[in-house]
Amino acid sequence: MLRCEGLSQTYVSGGRPLTVLKDITFTLDDGGFLAIVGPSGSGKTTLLGLLAGLDRPATGHVWLDAADITAMDEDERARIRAAKIGFVFQSFQLIPTLTAIENVQVPLELRGEPSEQRAKELLERVGLGDRLDHYPAQLSGGEQQRVALARAFSIRPKILFADEPTGNLDAKTGGTIIELMLELNRTEGTTLVLVTHDHDIARLARQTLRLSDGRIVGEQAVAS
């Protein structure tokens, strides 16, 4: 499902090149669950961005569902995202001017698909059936993240990227979010890629990458 080879990333900071990722290579199978862990500044988020095609690497390639997304231009990658990828962020990243249901509808609308019924079902599934017309500011953090999850799953993505999805939530709410993700992973067969600090969550993953200073310092896979 996801494969990367020799992935490196360099940013220019203060006029000097700064290497944040060095030579990352790994493979993740269909329906898999990968956790990327490591201390702050180890390059976890940068790696996630590259894997999801949000940015271009300095060197190396990423194949997503057999397509080399590093060879695509920005708009082609956008079409791939619209078709196959779901996102969950630490800071939820809901569009503040849209209601909960409209936020969930956006990816479907982008594809020109009927969206209202499916968005409603998804929000009911994450327990927000009575909050459809609330704006993000009117929802708690946990509720916002559940809307974000519903949005991520609205297009039945082949792969879901999550950047510290529980980072801004308390343990109990975070637990609910992870459970929802795992449930969707099981029922829909969605591949999960998760960046986290939380070792308890990382332990749930079937595959773990440990990053430090932009390099893979540990890799482990649990047989399913």
């Binding site: 988020t45 999801a52 949000l54 990243q93 569009i95 990816p107 982008l110 020109g112």
Partner: protein, 861 residues
């Protein structure tokens, strides 16, 4: 493109920003309102002129001259009204009108007033009617002994219908007042009201004396009116050497339309400025809006929308809001166009029938939408640079559009649009291009100034200043600063305001300077030489000792440097009808009648440019007499110092030598001359005199005018004090119209200012809150803002005022051709006002930041 998504997002994305988007709508609305008002009014004017074209001339053709018609002209006129029995064409009709100035005097009230007399033959006007009160009096005029007057004259004289009115040697009965007359300009009547007498009463007045300014005009109603313009074209070359000019209805109409169009074009340019300022408002509103929407855009990019799609979402939004603003503006403009005729009616020769011109409305809406989209394009291009990666890591730097092909195309579209709009509104390519280049220079200089400020503050940072000042000044160059945007929009608005103010000030100043001090303010014209001693002693009796008497000798040029002046048609016959305008007729300087004087000193309004002044009267009567020429007329005639000019002074040839060239300040109310002769040559030539005195008390001036009118009926007097008032009131009317249009720029400028300051506000909410979290008091935060807005306002207004002094000078020098002075005090006040306005709007927009508690802000983040 998924249009359903695009449409929905465009609508949803206005949520939460609607208040700010109102700014965008408002910025466009004001400009469109101004444009629609001006253009619809201009269309109304043209319609009115077209409808009233025949009545405006009153005949099919008119032939006029400043001297009695020569036999040749008479013969031509006769031939035009002779029936052509061979072709079965009946006879045409003719009616002559003789116009001249005179003093009207009513013995009952002792009222006296300079009037414009028209002695008319029965039949005039052939088209349109001169309406009178009581009705039908016009037809009684022919019986003789009666006079029909402009209503303003009754007020001026304190007279009423039935009173006796003295004019020259004759006495008339006031029959009626004129209530409506095609082609009359109300403001002109305020200076010298028009009165009508019968042609048969003319000679008895004894007013057609030597030196009187008389215009002889004959109006013709042709049996075949369709030939009028053709006849006019054919006869013009024949009539010109006879010093007569000819006009047809069509030519009269097109001249009038041209003049009125030019006036409305200039008003239109002022309106266009309002719209362009509105465009800048749109650009800055879109810029703010997009910078606030970066997160949303990044999320949408993350969710898979293409950059192009999002670009269209926000462009659609700007278009829709621009369209809304344009429609609101057009509605406003439709109402406002009713105001323009009220303001301008006194200086217009036609009654304007106000109706909404659909073309002007559609054009206004179209231009509004176009300007909104063209100005929105460049800030919108930044959308393409928003990376989906921003969802993961927020960049501090605001996104700027890359200078790629799309950027260059947008910038090009902007410049071309501004140029095209200016040419369209100015009606002339050169004016439009000049306007665009002028705007370009101002924008460029303001941009340079803002960039200079950013660099300068950074380089020579006042490290020893108190903290709040340092913080406020640092805001000018910190990342994400809006110094350039604010300086551009604020500076441009201030520049316009200041330029308008300077032009108006200088135009009015010219009149004021002319009339103050100890200069004469009462002029007696047409004093005949045999009346001279009588007039002077009469003035002495009134206790006036400073009496200036200036002789005037009418003459024409016979030859220049030995080349005789040929009065044939000029080689290139133009369609222009204005025989008095040097600009359109080369050779006019050679053909015109000169009223020259002779004296042996320079006067206060003259400066010698070259050559030397003569030391006294000519002694050798066989030598050429020295003459001094005004510099422009010398250039037009094509002579230099030492050249010979022969003058025809009422049949006597006088040879002169150009001794020197003078510059003349025509703006001063003094008798000024193109040609001044050395004494000792013209004393015995036929001449008349102008006598000037100064009487400070307006009532005493009136009494003196009455007294002189009784004793010397042929002498006309002009009260320069009331002339000045009249000129000021006409100018006030015109400048009111200009200010009315400029008001829209001001309103738009304020909207833009609010928008520009909002730009900076949103980016610093976080910073201010952080400062407060770290322990800054509200007072300190307020003072930081104060320091920033004060420096922004001072720089913008300062640059604007500086630029406007240059623009004002250029306009005064090249367009209005007046002298130029800077009202430093008033400019200082204007500067202060703009800075105060900036600081006030800036602080008012920041109060919200102050009110927020740190906790509130943290929660929202």
């Amino acid at each position: 493109m998924n249009w359903r998504f695009v449409g929905r997002m465009a609508w949803r994305e206005t949520r939460g920003s609607r208040k700010r988007l109102v700014l965008l709508t408002g910025a466009i609305a004001a400009g469109v309102a101004a444009l629609v008002a001006v253009n619809s009014f201009a269309a109304n004017l043209r319609d009115s002129v077209n409808r009233q074209a025949q009545a405006l001339l009153g005949a099919d053709l008119s032939i006029s001259s400043r001297q009695p018609f020569t036999p040749r002209v008479q013969a031509l006129i006769d031939s035009l009204v002779t029936p052509d029995t061979a072709r079965g064409v009946p006879a045409g009709q003719r009616a002559s009108v003789t116009n001249f100035a005179g003093m009207a005097y009513t013995p009952r009230t002792s009222g006296v007033r300079l009037v414009e007399v028209a002695a008319v033959e029965p039949g005039y006007p052939f088209y349109g009617t001169i309406e009178t009160d009581p009705v039908g009096a016009w037809d009684q005029l022919d019986t003789g002994g009666g006079v029909i007057v402009d209503p303003s004259l009754l007020n001026a004289l304190g007279a009423r219908l039935g009173d006796t009115l003295a004019l020259g040697q004759s006495r008339f009965t006031i029959l009626a007042t004129v209530t409506s007359q095609p082609g009359a300009v109300a403001a002109a009547a305020a200076f010298s009201p028009r009165i009508y007498i019968a042609e048969r009463d003319l000679s008895a007045t004894g007013l057609l004396q030597f030196g009187s300014r008389v215009e002889y005009e004959v109006f013709l109603k042709l049996a075949e009116p369709g030939n009028a313009t053709q006849i006019s074209k054919e006869y013009r070359p024949i009539l010109r050497p006879e010093r007569a000019r000819i006009r047809s209805v069509e030519e009269n109409r097109s001249d009038l339309t041209e003049a009125l169009t030019q006036m409305s074009n200039y008003l239109g340019l002022v309106a266009l400025i309002a719209l362009l300022l509105g465009g800048m408002g749109v650009a800055s509103a879109v810029h703010v809006f997009i910078n606030q929407k970066l997160d949303t855009i990044a999320i949408l990019r993350c969710l898979g929308s293409e950059a192009r799609q999002l670009f269209v979402v926000y462009l659609l939004q700007a278009l829709a809001l621009g369209a809304l603003g344009a429609v609101i503006g057009a509605t406003l403009g439709a109402g406002l166009q009713r105001v323009l005729p009220l303001v301008l009616s006194d200086i217009l020769p036609v009654d304007v029938q106000v109706h909404l011109d659909p073309q002007a409305v559609l054009l206004g809406i179209g231009l509004g939408i176009w300007v909104a989209s063209v100005f929105a394009l460049m800030p919108l291009l930044a959308i393409r640079r928003v990376s989906p990666l921003m969802t993961l890591r927020r960049e501090v730097e605001p996104v700027r559009a890359a200078r790629d092909l799309a950027w260059i195309a947008s910038a090009g579209a902007l410049v071309v649009s501004v140029g095209a709009l200016a040419v369209l509104q100015a009606g002339r390519l050169l004016d439009g291009v000049g306007f665009t280049v002028g705007i370009g220079i101002v924008v460029f200089v303001l941009w340079l100034a803002s960039v200079g400020l950013i660099r300068g503050v950074r380089k020579w940072f006042p490290t020893s200043w108190p903290y709040v000042w340092r913080q406020g000044l640092a805001n000018l160059y910190r990342p994400g600063n809006q110094t350039v945007t604010v300086v551009l929009s604020l500076g441009f608005g201030a520049f316009l305001l200041s330029t308008l103010f300077l032009v108006q000030h200088n135009l009015l100043r010219d009149f004021r300077v002319g009339i103050t001090g100890m200069r004469p303010n009462l002029a007696f014209l047409d004093v005949q030489p045999d009346q001279r001693s009588g007039v002077i002693s009469a003035l002495r009796e009134e206790g006036l000792d400073s009496i200036l008497t200036v002789p005037m000798v009418p003459m024409r040029i016979t030859s220049v440097k030995g080349e005789p002046v040929v009065l044939g048609p000029p080689p290139e016959e133009t369609d222009s009808l204005d025989a008095d305008s040097a600009a359109v007729q080369p050779g006019w300087a050679l053909r015109r009648e000169y009223r020259s004087t002779y004296r042996d000193q320079l006067v206060g309004s003259e400066v010698l440019v070259s050559g030397s002044w003569w030391s006294g009267p000519r002694i050798d009567s066989t030598a050429p007499v020295n003459v001094s020429l005004e510099e422009e007329i010398a250039r037009d005639i094509g002579v230099e110092i030492g050249d010979e000019i022969v003058w025809n002074v009422q049949g006597v040839q006088v040879t002169s030598r150009v001794a020197n060239i003078r510059e003349v300040d025509w703006a001063r109310f003094e008798p000024n001359f193109f040609a001044v002769f050395q004494g000792g040559a013209l004393e015995d030539a036929p001449q008349f005199l102008v006598t000037l005195v100064r009487v400070d008390d307006p009532q005493a001036r009136g009494a003196l005018q009455r007294h002189m009118a009784e004793r010397y009926p042929n002498v006309t007097s002009i009260d320069l004090g009331s002339l000045q008032q009249l000129l000021e009131s006409i100018l006030a009317r015109v400048s009111l119209a200009v200010r009315f249009m400029a008001g829209f720029s001001l309103a738009t400028g304020a909207v833009v200012l609010v928008g520009a300051i909002a730009t900076t506000r949103f980016q610093r909410v976080r910073e201010a809150v952080l400062l407060k979290t770290l322990g800054a008091t509200r007072r300190q935060v307020l003072r930081i803002f104060l320091a920033e807005y004060l420096s922004l306002g001072t720089l913008s207004a300062g640059m604007a005022v500086l630029l406007s002094t240059i623009a004002g000078w250029a306009l005064a020098r090249f367009v209005f051709e007046t002298s130029y002075a800077l009202p430093l005090g008033a400019l200082g006040i204007l500067l202060g006002l703009i800075v105060t306005l900036t600081v006030a709007i800036g602080l008012a927009n920041s109060l919200d930041v102050l009110r927020r508690t740190p906790l509130e802000a943290l929660r929202n983040d």
